[in-house]
Symmetry: C2
Subunit: 455 residues, 2 copies
């Protein structure tokens, strides 16, 4: 297919049609009305703001999650905002279909209405970045800035967002570390079109993107942002048009940026609709894969009921790195690791090792033989010999990797993620076998198809 055909075909699928637009409009009108009415009933001076892709008309067809922000006057004390915000949210949600209370920096209400998820989030009614007090306050400014600057290129945003989803780099959550929707919008506003952004994949990391010209308007703050983000080795610096202190791409990892980089190159060379929509993967058998690779798969199944993804995934990653370090020190070769959630409030840490059984002796490197410490080493060990000027001995160690891991955990020698330390200690350890629901994950990991850029 030609590039034009590909883009048309994608747009056909991701651009909401008139019927859908009408549905969304009605939905938002009703929600605004209910909110204003409820705020009146509670005697609260609160303004409703729609934020997110629905409010910016950059949502993908069928993707209708509503973000309705309840903006309190700036003079409201934080405690009052939390209490009344939650109260108002509940009161509104009572008039919708169902709801539950969720927790981020502050509690908020997640309701359902006509089959659509509606987040009712209390915030401050900020006019500029100087007013920002809570993490969510900036959203109102983002929505306004995009709407003022997108200049009809909403479908270009849709193409880019769909592409980012298709190549699996969409989302700025810590367990994704990809491109946020807002970042996609800014890139389109900066470079003009979907293809223009892709053609710039190569140079993105080299410069600073500054759509609101903060480097002139607030040079000191903006420069400090650039320096800080460069020092932290971020692949991309995009100064937030609504806040010179912030890099919109702060959460983007080199891995996800690199994936975008190669997929852009490939797409421009050989356009295909496959880049936008994840194909059904072919999964092989992880047991066969293990046999072919001659390696060993160790899987820890960890109970993690009530730990949210935002916390869980980074803590699992930290724990996996802890195992990697300590098992390497213990003489195993750690070829890779993989973490994630599995069913039933449980998570997994997979480690691919060179073998299940290590040698049961380890060399002990002693001091120079003619020193006081050398003579002590000689006294303390049953078997001692000399290589060069130094004494050597050896000690017996456990051989089986499960025993080694258990011993390391008992002796507290593994650097584990703080929030899940106790959970990991009680983990179930499986070798060369995983529960059925992890079979595909194990294959994707061992075969490296999970990360393969050419997959």
């Amino acid at each position: 297919m030609e590039m034009g055909e590909v883009l048309n075909e994608v747009l056909k699928r991701v651009k909401p049609d008139e019927e859908e637009r009408a549905f969304v409009k009605t939905l938002m009108d009703e929600l605004r009305e209910i909110t204003e009415e409820t705020a009146g009933e509670l005697n609260l001076s609160v303004k409703p703001y729609f934020v997110g892709s629905l409010a910016k008309d950059t949502y993908l067809a069928g993707d209708h999650d509503v973000d309705l922000f309840l903006a309190f006057p700036l003079e409201t004390p934080l405690r009052t905002l939390r209490e009344r915000g939650l109260k108002l949210g509940r009161a509104i949600a009572e008039k919708l279909d169902s709801y539950e209370v969720a927790y981020a920096e502050h509690p908020y209400v997640r309701a359902s209405y006509k089959g659509i998820s509606v987040d009712l989030v209390p915030c401050y009614d900020v006019k500029s970045w100087r007013d920002v007090r809570t993490a969510v306050d900036r959203s109102i400014l983002h929505t306004r800035w995009v709407n003022e600057n997108v200049e009809g290129r909403n479908d270009e945003v849709r193409l880019l967002k769909r592409f980012l989803k298709g190549i699996q780099v969409y989302g700025s959550e810590v367990y994704v570390r990809g491109f946020s929707g807002y970042l996609a919008e800014l890139l389109i506003i900066e470079y003009g079109s979907f293809l223009d952004v892709l053609e710039r994949a190569d140079i993105l990391r080299k410069g600073v993107i500054d759509p609101a010209n903060w480097l002139d308007e607030e040079p000191e703050l903006a420069r400090r942002t650039v320096i800080r983000e460069r020092e932290e080795d971020k692949p991309l610096v995009v100064i937030d048009p609504v806040d010179p202190r912030r890099n919109v791409a702060a959460n983007l990892s080199w891995e996800k940026y690199g994936r975008f980089y190669y997929k852009s190159l490939e797409f421009l060379k050989r356009p295909s609709i496959d880049f936008f929509f994840l194909r059904q993967r072919h999964y092989g058998n992880y047991i066969d894969e293990l046999r072919e690779r001659g390696t060993t798969l160790v899987t820890l199944i960890v109970d993690v009921v009530d730990v949210v993804d935002d916390v869980l995934i980074p803590q699992l990653e930290r724990s996996a790195r802890g195992f990697e370090r300590v098992l390497t020190r213990e003489g195993f070769n750690v070829l890779g690791w993989n973490v994630g959630r599995t069913g039933g409030g449980r998570a997994f840490i997979m480690l691919e090792l060179d073998r299940r059984e290590r040698e049961r002796v380890r060399l002990k490197l002693g001091p120079e033989f003619f020193t006081e410490r050398g003579r002590e080493f000689y006294m303390k060990n049953d078997k001692v010999w000399i290589v060069g000027r130094r004494l050597y001995s050896e000690k017996e160690v456990l051989g089986d990797v499960v025993e080694v891991i258990q011993e390391l955990l008992e002796r507290d020698q593994v650097a584990l993620g703080r929030g899940i330390r106790e959970n990991v200690r009680k983990a179930n350890i499986l070798v060369n076998y995983v529960p059925k629901e992890l079979a595909e994950e194990a294959y994707a990991f061992l075969s490296r198809e999970k990360w393969n850029l050419k997959g």
Copy 2:
């Protein structure tokens, strides 16, 4: 046993009795006579010198190898010395029981007479180190110097030599790297007695031993010797009383010195006759040892007919280190190695490894993904992923250690000892099994009893 009793008992065994002395004296008289007579017949102006422990009266009971040097005038050209020396040696040997020609720096005759081995070695009749032209010339000077300075302490030398043999550090050959007989004699002359030497084991390496006071007589040459030997990290510097350019302990290794150091400490604390005479070792089963250690023994059997020990052992050691380096690079843990001769003109290289089968994939670390080389790496490999800024891939490798070694040898990737390179390439490779004649050696190696200071 008290120290005095121990030393008396040892002396009883190592000091030749009157009968033995008479036998040796007769032997030497006869050999001198035959030599002078034969030199006369051949019209050669050659003086016979007895050198070595027999000539110095420091030989151990029953140890009667004769070194008879045939000293030619200094003005004899080297070629003439070689030719006539060999001719004279043969002519003398014809009058003895049997002989063969052996090769060191120069060919010489090794004869047998009354059951005693007699080396007939041509050399120059040197009067001082300035005259020395061939490697053996110094022996005449050594013998003279010791006889002039030993001052009746010959039995102390015998005790020290027997002790060095008992703890297995006797001999300065490159495949031993221990104490020569001459070094033992100098230590006794320097410190006065066997026990005095042992009590100095600790400080030996700290100073310079200079029995002939060369640092005053020939300060420049002697100091150069000290500096050179220190730079080469020799454990001990003993300036040769007959040659200020030479360190008598040049061949002593740290390992053998360290063994002497600890055995001296132990002997002084708990004197026992066992230090002087090697006990029959108890050998365990190497297969059991392997099983307990959870390791793998790889043995290369190499054909080395006609390679002399002086060359063979260092070359085998070099080859073993080559295997150690390259197998470590290939992901095996090399716990130790051991080399030596076995029967039938063959030698062995043993390697103790962590396992027989390694994983069959190896990580390939690529360049940073956004570089030209990164894009080439991406093109060249089927499976590519990113960690941080860098591309990774992996490749299939052979798993079995025998296949790995064969491939490494084929690709000429092992640094092998020069003289035996082709022999090693054709070696037989055995895993977890050795020929019967190597069973004890394999056990001594795997158990480390071969080097154990406490063994």
